[in-house]
Amino acid sequence: METKGNKVVVDNVTNLSDELFAVKYYDTLAAEAIRTLRTNITLRDFDKKIKVINIMSVTEAQGKSTIITNLAASFSQLNKKVLLIDCDLHMPTMHHKLNLKNKYGLVDVVSNFKLFDDCVIHYMSNFDVLTAGTTIPFISEFIQSSALHNFILDKREKYDYIFIDCPPIVPISDAFIISKYTDGAILVVAAGESDKRVLQQAKERLDDLDVNVLGIVLNRVEMSKHHYGYNYNKRKK
């Protein structure tokens, strides 16, 4: 299913993975919420150009991989050249969301085992994806390596936007380190599922590390039937 050269994996919307609702189901509230998020991010560009963005959550299963994948796709729809990277090496899920094979990816490129052009997947026009790649046991060292940092710096010049999926903050601190390589971070919190204290601690840690938190996405908010007739939405706080 992957292709080399200029051919894309998906050239027809109907063949898109259902997970990419921001593109496939354009008229839904959820897609609209993603576009709102997109607009809010582009409006934050005053001091420094925001090109590289990572997403984090406090615990797993908060929806961050879904959000970052859709956000990246929606930016590519603005004819911006986008690269989406799965940096959740502990439990990579991006390739599942897009029905892709995860044979080689980020790990293989950064460790010079494979060339970037051999691993990157041209999922749609303007939308490239780099899956996590080979499983390695020394993930922390990899995340902290200058090789990874340099890789991101290098790709910064080649793309308009780079989106990076990270593992949850608890119990792994990879996301904090990756935030140092990016221009801004998005924190995803699933409504009603997170512990207030844990969130507080996470915020303090982010402040300490001087991470540029672009905003917080409140996910899985139940909208009352009275208002919209839908019961699934995302809102940017």
């Binding site: 299913m1 599942h96 029905n99 892709l100 094979k101 995860n102 499983t135």
Partner: protein
């Protein structure tokens, strides 16, 4: 009835050792009303169960001819019981191992004691490559015995489960039967190896009929196996998690 899992093709794995044993098991099967079987010798890369398709086909054709000349009317098909391995999709693409009866269904088994997370990724890749997964005898795995809802990780992905007939006969409230009651199971097969583990389904069918009724039981023994042979899609979306019994909750 149709049997989709057995080791009756002799001289390949830990199943029948020679033609005589095979013939007798198949004749018994025919007598009790089994009219189609898929022969599924083990394949485990790196082990002594490594007979590849080209040789397997030769032995299968020879076996089929021999059966016909001995008056056996059962329709026979060929396949493999594939032990999970990260190279399975390559082995299938290179036609070194077989799907079930030339369909897109593959019969996959796992280690009994341990379930590494890589298995899920391997199954995912096989699904991406277009194969439909049938998991062999999940009721025999330690991690399923410990928690039958372990199977939900497979069912939620659309993989189908096959239980062994002997597992159903084993005791009154056995695990296999509980799985059947909760809609986990799509196939019952013999996993026949020898006289002690024969090619038999009749008793199991009768027990299953008592529990879920004739119409539903027929699916597990006839309709679904036929769909495998015809390479038709089988969807199982009517399963429910198994509730723990009182004693299990106390543990």
């Amino acid at each position: 009835m149709i049997d989709i899992h057995n080791h009756v093709l002799y001289g390949i794995d830990d199943g029948c050792i020679d033609y005589q044993v095979s013939l007798e098991l198949i004749k018994q099967a025919e007598a009790e009303g089994i009219n189609k079987i898929i022969l599924t010798p083990h394949y485990l890369k790196g082990s002594m169960y490594n007979l590849e398709s080209d040789e397997l086909k030769v032995r299968f054709d020879h076996f089929k001819k021999h059966l016909r000349s001995d008056g056996v009317n059962i329709e026979v098909y060929c396949g493999n019981e594939l032990f999970i391995h990260y190279q399975l999709d390559e082995l299938l693409t290179d036609h070194k191992v077989m799907t079930l009866a030339d369909s897109n269904y593959i019969l996959v088994e796992f280690a009994f004691f341990d379930y590494p997370n890589e298995n899920d990724e391997i199954l995912y890749n096989l699904t991406l490559a277009g194969y439909k997964i049938i998991i062999a005898h999940p009721e025999r795995y330690k991690y399923v015995k410990k928690d039958p809802n372990f199977c939900l990780r497979w069912l939620d992905k659309g993989y189908l489960l096959q239980v062994n007939q002997q597992s159903i006969l084993s005791s009154v409230n056995n695990l296999a039967m509980r799985m059947i009651k909760n809609g986990f199971v799509s196939f019952v097969a013999s996993d026949a190896h020898n006289y002690q583990r024969p090619l038999s389904l009749k008793r199991a069918l009768s027990l299953v009929e008592n529990v879920i009724g004739e119409k539903e039981a027929e699916k597990l023994f006839i309709t679904n196996p036929q769909k495998v042979i015809d390479d038709e899609l089988i969807i199982n979306d009517s399963y429910t998690p198994i509730k723990k019994g009182i004693f299990e909750r106390l543990l």
